[in-house]
Amino acid sequence: MADNISEIFSEFQDFINEDQDIREDIRLIVRDLEQRAREILAILQNVHQPDGLKNTSSLCEASRSKLSQVHDCFRALESKLPKDQYYRFNDHWRFVMQRLCFLAAFVVFLEDEHLITRNECAEMLGVQVVRQKGFHIDLEDYLMGLLQLATELSRLSVNAVASCDYARPMKIAKFVAELDSGFRLLNLKNDSLRKRFDGLKYDLKKVEEVVYDLSIRGLRPQEPAASSNNTDPVVEQSACSDSTA
């Protein structure tokens, strides 16, 4: 019986060693991914400033090119994983995956105000949508990324007004409201996704307050696609004197 025991337990020791090796490899790649995510985030932070807000297309282009660089990281990650064991190790990359989803969704919003689909997101990151096809993006990570986007957009709506872009908060309000009604269709369990979703209503409230502030001061643009020119005499001159095109 003693031999039996020592054989069983030494087999487990091998298993633990192998597990630790795999996790080490994964950690290295994830660290690289996190670095790239931080770089993209830094680029996109510029939209909160007046000059950045005018140049969203160049920011988006720069972000897209950096995003395409993460494809290699994901390929490397996939190669390190034993087959069909995504969920054994996914805690390692869950955070950075959510962050990258958010960044991709942000870029897509800045480009043409639509909500990034899972397929688009997967394509931008260089991963699959469906688990069976390979290294995929988990549905909950994608949803978490969308919720992070809502928070960023509520901040953007505030800064857009400060940068004299009065149209953008309107678009953001419509977008976040649609996001909210979409999320309300989901039956969430009491997990981190649910908690984050609970925060969505505060993001929505903030954006609606911005829209309200603009409306009562008559700063609201007449058409949704209008430029930031306003014929209303109430418009403050001082803050916007540098930003006339």
């Binding site: 019986m1 003693a2 039996n4 025991i5 020592s6 069983i8 337990f9 087999e11 487990f12 020791q13 298993f15 633990i16 069909d84 064991q85 995504y86 969920y87 054994r88 909500l115 689909t117 899972r118 688990r131 069976q132 549905l139 909950e140 949803l143 979409g182 999320f183 269709l185 989901l186 039956n187 969430l188 369990k189």
Partner: protein, 260 residues
């Protein structure tokens, strides 16, 4: 788009719940198996109880585990592991205990896997849970099994030491004075093996500390037997052990609460 997300999330959560419910049943039945095994008292009851236990374990395999295996088909088992891990560890404990009582060896991972492998007829009118359409096609035999990570197996074995400890104390109460030493040796080997693993996970650390306590209790009991055994009449040995360990002994009842 959100409708699709809702459906997918609902399916995932529902499957998780189904597996968790099945796992709870496995836990309950496994605990009953363990209680049964502790009731063995001499050769006459031994055969009868071992047969009953074997039947219970077979039933468990063919009902709950089979269902779980069907649910886990084509899924990444790690996505649902937390749903069936408690049941799995309890089942490993029960099966290993049965193995030990019957054959005096430690259940191997292969034997465990074998007990959770089913050959499935795949073909017309096969019911697959969670999917509306029935599978149509040529009839094939395919192996269907529940994925058992090695960690779960090892953790189940750690739990087994608790039962071995109870068995050792029970033996003393019944007057079987050589078994405790045998069990002590076994528990000690497992303890030494666990020492070499370091801190793999929190669950393992917790189990290891419980294992250590069980080992100490059995070692103390063996000490008492050796040193004081000849002095104390057999029927008073139990009382002696009770005063030593400051815990109620449960060889008269079969409560699972004591000696934890």
């Amino acid at each position: 788009m959100f409708h699709e997300c809702q459906e997918e999330l609902d399916m995932r959560h529902d499957k998780y719940e189904r597996i968790a419910k099945l796992s709870r049943n496995v836990t309950i039945e496994s605990k009953r198996v363990i209680f049964l095994l502790h009731r063995i008292n001499g050769d006459e009851s031994c055969k009868r109880i071992l047969d009953e236990v074997e039947q219970k374990l077979d039933l468990l395999q063919n009902t709950e585990w089979h269902q779980i295996a069907l649910e886990l088909q084509n899924e990444d088992p790690y996505q649902f592991l937390r749903a069936y891990s408690p049941g799995l560890q309890e089942y490993v404990e029960a099966l290993a205990f049965f193995h030990y009582v019957q054959q005096h060896t430690l259940l191997t991972a292969q034997q465990l896997k074998h007990s959770l492998t089913f050959s499935e007829l795949s073909g017309n009118d096969v019911y697959e849970p969670g999917i509306d359409s029935t599978v149509k096609g040529p009839i094939l035999l395919r192996p269907l099994s529940v994925y058992v990570p090695l960690t779960e197996y090892i953790l189940g074995l750690a739990d087994l030491t608790g039962e071995m400890m109870r068995m050792a104390i029970n033996c003393i109460g019944r007057g079987e004075l050589s078994k405790p030493f045998e069990l002590c040796q076994c528990i000690r080997s497992m303890h030494n093996a666990f020492l070499s693993y370091g801190s793999h996970s929190r669950e393992m650390l917790v189990k290891f500390s419980v294992l250590r306590q069980s080992m100490r209790k059995v070692e103390d009991a063996c000490y008492t037997l050796k040193v004081r055994g000849s002095e104390i009449p057999r029927h008073l040995l139990a009382d002696e052990l009770k005063s030593l360990s400051h815990l109620p002994l449960c060889f008269e009842t079969n409560s699972d609460d004591c000696l934890d």
